[in-house]
Subunit: 334 residues, 2 copies
């Protein structure tokens, strides 16, 4: 990204704002930053390194002169504008699910398969946030002792559904506390003091929702291992911006919790938070605002007497490592 | 309970209040209702069938003339006063964990092993709330096709830690929304918009916390099957009074989601909520205030290609079927 002109598509969204923050906080010397959004948001401003940048309306000619375009404005916008950006000479890092499973599109978590960036034909896809959160700590284990079975139950934050969903959680909660009626508009169910199955469509054949299907398919693509058997249950919890996950995995060979701890101790992007005596483990409140995936509750999975299985609990910032930070890390490797 | 003198120990607590509500709502013609609590709560009143009952201080002679004593005041109180109540001629239904694993004490979920009540020697134990919530829907399946492996991740409400914890969740959330500092006193971590590992001590050998150990041990005792391999991950979510659980189980023989649905359709205490087209599944907001365990997201566990495994998501009122209702159902069978 050094000395490059970078465009952010969806600059006023929850992830878009974090794109700006990541570039600033990481001190990346971009040559220029162009903020793009819908006509509705055009004219809004955002601070960047002491300057005030103005958001421009996303148009067909927006990418003239742009070297790198970071997209986070939904699959529809990505499908329409990413090819235009590529044609204009930009490399696209796309946070939507539009191109993730396309054969010619690398799906990259830098700690895992950063070398795949070299294969790109203009577009590099940023994986699903729940997938990234699980896979960063699972990769060092998988390399040493291949994971054969993976069961994930998520505790997902509002941020994955955007800034409006975060606000709806806050507004709905205040209404609940005040005993006032509240009609959710973004989420399909009341979110205050509630938990619900992820608000994506269910595949009528498998019974899995889109979010779960993404986690299962993307894991196999990122790990380049079509043989891993995976089941995900994706659930929304009333949390603002960090996802947590209860993970149980079975390895090819027996594995101990000490081995897992040793592998994760030096793993990039991972922070072990596993204080049994102090009852201190990964929490979304702690994960919020930091780039590492917190990993704890590392222990033998007692449902598998063979000793091949481990259970653990992880938490990671959905807007950072789950989205903006991972995309910026990809762009830095370009 | 018909024509019996019933005492409630811990009458001012969250479960104690539900004991009173269950007896009233189920129209059980008790001969008398005696409300007992600590000296601190003595003198408080509670409405019951249009009357106003006054809470008495729990003392050694409180059980004279009492036929049935429903305990929910913590393990310490149960250990001290349950034997006194039994000596005075009462049958104790105890909601604490004090006697659950004792050999001579039946651990009963009426839909599963109501016949075990006959074995009691004065004390019948009410199981852990997370165990009840999982086991009511698993039992009909286990009878038909024995469950060999069980993996549970919970989404537990504040109510399991009592009325003060529920109030702390509300107060902490309001403080968060108002941008004010808030120091939790009941829970070890901030609860507003957060998720944390269950606040019970961790066994240093296994790495499992007490809540998880209860779920694992009690399941085997209630199902009378020491061979089931179980792993539980117990997590608190900011929900007031209903627990949800993501459950994956493996049966002895292959099993289909249609078989599970057929078995659960007529199962007592179970309500199937599994609308894939409408994206409507079990939620704690819906489970709150009702006696049934809601079951949905019933689908093949894709991490087990053998076809022996199913995943599902359940929700049940922690204060009702998870505690007071189950105990009152036991007492009705006496």
């Amino acid at each position: 990204m050094k000395n490059k002109i970078v465009a952010i598509v969806g600059a006023t969204g929850a992830v878009g704002q974090e794109f700006i923050g990541c570039i600033e906080q990481r001190g990346i010397p971009v040559k220029g930053l162009k903020l793009l959004a819908s006509g509705r948001s055009a004219g809004k401003t955002a601070p960047f390194r002491g300057q005030t940048l103005t958001v421009e309306e996303l148009k067909d000619d927006s990418f003239d002169g742009v070297d790198i375009a970071l997209f986070s404005a939904g699959s529809g916008i990505s499908r329409r504008y990413a090819p235009i950006a590529v044609k204009a000479g930009a490399v696209v890092v796309d946070n939507s699910s539009a191109f993730r499973m396309d054969d010619g599109v690398p799906l990259v978590v830098p700690e895992i398969n950063g070398h795949r960036i070299a294969d790109h034909k203009g577009i590099i896809a940023n994986p699903n946030c729940s997938a990234i959160t699980a896979l960063v700590p699972l990769w060092p284990i998988h390399q040493k002792n291949p994971i054969r079975r993976l069961i994930i139950s998520t505790y997902q934050a509002a941020s994955g559904a955007g800034a409006a969903a975060m606000q709806e959680l806050l507004d709905g909660t205040r209404a609940f506390l005040d005993g006032k009626p509240f009609e959710p508009k973004i989420m399909p169910h009341p979110y205050a003091f509630n938990v619900f199955s992820h608000n994506t469509a269910i595949d009528p054949d498998t019974g899995y929702n889109d979010e779960e299907t993404k986690v299962m398919k993307e894991t196999r693509k990122i790990f380049e291992d079509e043989t891993i058997a995976i089941s995900a249950t994706c659930i929304r919890v009333p949390v603002l911006r960090a996802h947590s996950e209860s993970i149980t995995f079975t390895c090819d060979k027996p594995i101990s919790e000490d081995e897992v701890r040793a592998l994760l101790k030096s793993a990039p992007g991972v922070k072990i938070v596993d204080d049994r005596a102090g009852n201190y483990f990964p929490m979304p409140r702690d994960a919020s605002g930091q780039g590492d995936i917190l990993v704890g509750r590392i222990r033998k999975d007692l449902s598998d007497p063979s000793g091949h299985s481990i259970s653990m609990f992880v938490a990671g910032d959905q807007l950072l490592k789950g989205a903006a930070l991972n995309a910026v890390q990809i762009a830095e490797l370009l």
